[in-house]
Structures are given as structure tokens and as C-alpha cells.
Amino acid sequence: MSVAPSRTQFLSLYRQYIRSANNFTNYNFRKYFLRKARTSFENGSKLNNSHELDEFWLEAHKELAVLKRQAVVSQMYTFDQLVVEPLGKKQA
């Protein structure tokens, strides 16, 4: 049962992905997943082939679930912020 995602669904998934990535307390992981979200959704939006789009859609959902879980884990075990991070900006 694979239905091609609509534009709204696509954007909503992207927003959720960004929100979960932002929940990481670890600076490097947060930055990485934000960067990855941008590039992979940009590539995803260019897909025309419905089979490829399905694959992307499934994969993105799986990754979103991983991000949600791991963002919580990241909030449970926190460390000092890095020397490049402004203090207090992202203290969960």
C-alpha cells in the first residue's frame, strides 16, 4: 500500500525531521542531522520515479523514528557544551 506523498505530507515530514534533529543536545549530531535533512529532502523532492519516491518515503520515516528515539537518549545523557557553542542556547 504505497501512496505517493503529497506536497503537504512531504513538508510535514521534513518539519518533523528538523524538529527531531534540533532536539539532540549533542552539537555535532544536531548539526549533522540538520545538514542531512536539508540535503536528503532536497534530493527527495527532485525524485520523479514513483518507485524511488516510495523508497525515499519509507526510509525517511524509519530515520525519523530513529531520530526521535535517539534525541531522547541524547537528552538523558548530556555533556558540557563545546567551545564553539554559545551557552544557554540549547540546554534541554
Partner: protein, 478 residues
Amino acid sequence: MLRAIARSNVFKQHRASFKAARFYATAKVALDAKLETPTDVEGAAQELAQVRATTEQVKASTSNALKHAFQEKTGFGTRPIYLDMQATTPTDPRVLDTMLKFYTGLYGNPHSNTHSYGWETHKEVESARQHIANVINADVKEIIFTSGATESNNMALKGVARFYKKTKNHIITTRTEHKCVLEAARSLKIDDIDVTFLNVDDQGMVNLEELESAIRPETCLVSVMAVNNEIGVMQPIKEIGKICRKHKVFFHTDAAQAYGKVPIDVNDMNIDLLSISSHKIYGPMGIGAIFVRRRPRVRLDPIISGGGQERGLRSGTLAPSLVSGFGEAARLMQKEYAADTAHIRRLSEKLTRGLLSIEHTSLNGSPEHHYPGCVNVSFAYVEGESLLMALRDIALSSGSACTSASLEPSYVLHALGKDDALAHSSIRFGIGRFTTDEEIDYVIKAITERVAFLRELSPLWEMVKEGIDLNSIEWSGH
């Protein structure tokens, strides 16, 4: 009756609201629970900085040196930037996510085939093995799990040499190998096995003609590392593989730093044995693997004997959590290869450009045959260890983690023909998947400032500035 209906309605409503809020339930728990912060230097450092900033007495006594040792601007965190990716890499959250289920429910022994607990973990282990084999285009049966690249290297060198020692008693390796290969080779001398250590040129490259002429009829193994851990030089693995196949000698390569980061195809490159480490590819520590070719078959004497797991080459129960984390890390290396390579290359170019724009600095190792994630730079007229001390806000190393405890200069840079002073003043920068642009900018700025500061202190630098050739000076001996 009425009451019962009302109750069930209430229950339903309650359930609905519970369902809606379910996503955030875990997050709430996380916020309520007492957070563990293993590193809490932040508070202490801020206090200290505030005291220093306010007390006149301290202000007067604090020398310039302390101010330059590390940045003390409040308003920023205190944890150092991690730039030592050759030593180890942070575990990817996606890897941790696949590992957690083995600690919470999937605890079967993957070798038990009498119950489903064993089957579950066995399935996971085999799918991980497939992911690991895919990266180097190997067959799934050719991957043997070990405890890490050190064990893999030992297994390759000692295993092959001991198995064939009645007919062949010579192995060839290079001077820039990792310590575990050099030591394993040296320990084989007890078994009357002759070892040739090949020299490298000033770029860190092996001379192929020299290698070919070193092969004798009794040579059984050539071991050359794919990417050097200190200078990031890539050896011509494909050409070496061709030479070894021509002379019917087994070819082992230590690919701990190369696996998943540079393209490797064991069939195309004629590699017979290949060592892999999990914690260099954002996987868990404590696991690695060795690729052992089946056709033509490479035979080895196992170091560890026991129940005959892993084709009898490495007995002992596998750790499914580590294996599966390793497998996921390998899968991600393959999936993210293009994105990671582009990102690392971009940052590496930025860093190299920034550092080499400081005068009297040089890049160690060949710039063409080079893995961009490892940048080794020498800062002349600065002592490497004192620079590292001055760079407390950046996690760096002057060479391999194994030798960082001793103050001896790197043997790899020695092999390249660098003198002691330059070998002492070189620093290795490791860039990885999680390194960011801001970090690189910070590092370039910090290094530029502090190298300038340390040079101001150095009398040698003064002489260089005046245009005196240091080599022409006749130092009065004592």
C-alpha cells in the same frame, strides 16, 4: 448499567488523549529524570574565569602565557572540539539505535540453534556480516569477526606465517605500518621467520620496484597498510595486489583507516586478507573483522582455539550487539559515502589552506595520494607538545594514540626522513562525518594565534626572523 456506560466513555476519552500525547511521553520522562552529566568542568571553568576577570591581584599576576593557553570567554561551552578521528570516532546515533535492542531483549546466543532466541540474534549477525562484506565487494562467508584491527593484523601475520612456515619463511612489510603489524612481524622472528621492512620515500609511498625485488621464492605474505593512520597517505594497493598475485604471494592490507572511507574492492585489487575496525567508522569499540579470501583459499593458523565459530579461525561467542552495531555502521558508510566524502574533502581543503597559510608550516605525506580526513602538519620552531598543551580547547594528537604517552617522536615521520625537531612539532588533525564548518574555523583561528604566540617566546624564531640560517650556527657544546 448507566454508570457502566459512562465509565467506559470516560475510559475511551482518556485513552484517546493518551494516544495523542504518546509521542511526547518519553520526552517528558527525560526532562523529569535527573540528568547525568559525566563531564562537569563547565561550572568550575566559568567560576575560575570570573574570579580571574574580577580580582585585581590575579589579573596582575596572571602572565600572558595563561591567557593564551586556552580561550576563557564566558558565554561559550568548555568541552574541547574533537579532531582526533584517527584515534576513534563518535558512535553514530543510528548505530546506537540498532544496538540498544540487544541489551533490552535480544539476548540469545547467536550460536544456539535450538531455540528462537538464538535464531533471532543469528539472523541479525548474518545481516550485519552481509553489510560489512558489501562495502569491500567480498563474499559474506569471507568476513571473520575479531575483537578489533589489532587482533585482525596479528591473526593475518602470525596465522599465515605459521601455517606456511615449513615451506615459506619470509614476510614483507613497511616501516610506516601501525605498531601492531610491526610488533607482530618482529615476534615472528622466534619462529625463524625472516621479515623485510621496506623503506618509504619522503612522501611516505612504497617503491613498487623495491617491493617486487624484495619478494623471494620463500616469501609467503606482503603486508602494506591502505591508509596510514598518522599521515593519511594512501598506498597504491591495486598495483601491490597485482605484483603479489603475479608472484603468488598472499597480500594483506591493514584497512582500519581506509575501510568505507576510500573505495576498496578486494577482487579488483587482489587483496587476500584485509583488517577492519569498527570504531573508526562510527561503530562501537571492541569489535573488528578480517576478510580472509576463500578462492584461492588463504589458510591460517588460528590464534584462538575453541568451539570452532567463525570457520574455526576465531572461536568464541560473538557479541551480537557489537556485531550488529558494526554492521549498521558499515551500511551507513556505504549509504553516506558520497555525502561524507564531499563534506570531509571540503573541510579538509579549508583546514589545509588555513594552516599552510601560516609561515614555516608544511604538510606531511604525499598531497596527491592522500586521504583528506587526515591532515598532518608540521609547525617549525614550535614544540609539538607545548602546542598541544596550549590547545586545550581542541582534542588533537601529535601521532598515534598508542605512542602519545611517550615523548618519542613519531617513527612514521622518521621513516619519511623528517628530522627530530620537525617530527616533534607535527600535529595530526582528523576530520569526520560529524565535524562542522564552525569547528574548523575555530581551529584555524586558535592555531594561528597560538603558534604566533609560542614563536614569540622562542629564541630560535627571533634568529629566523633576523635571517640567520639555523643550520649554519655552531652551537657551543657543554
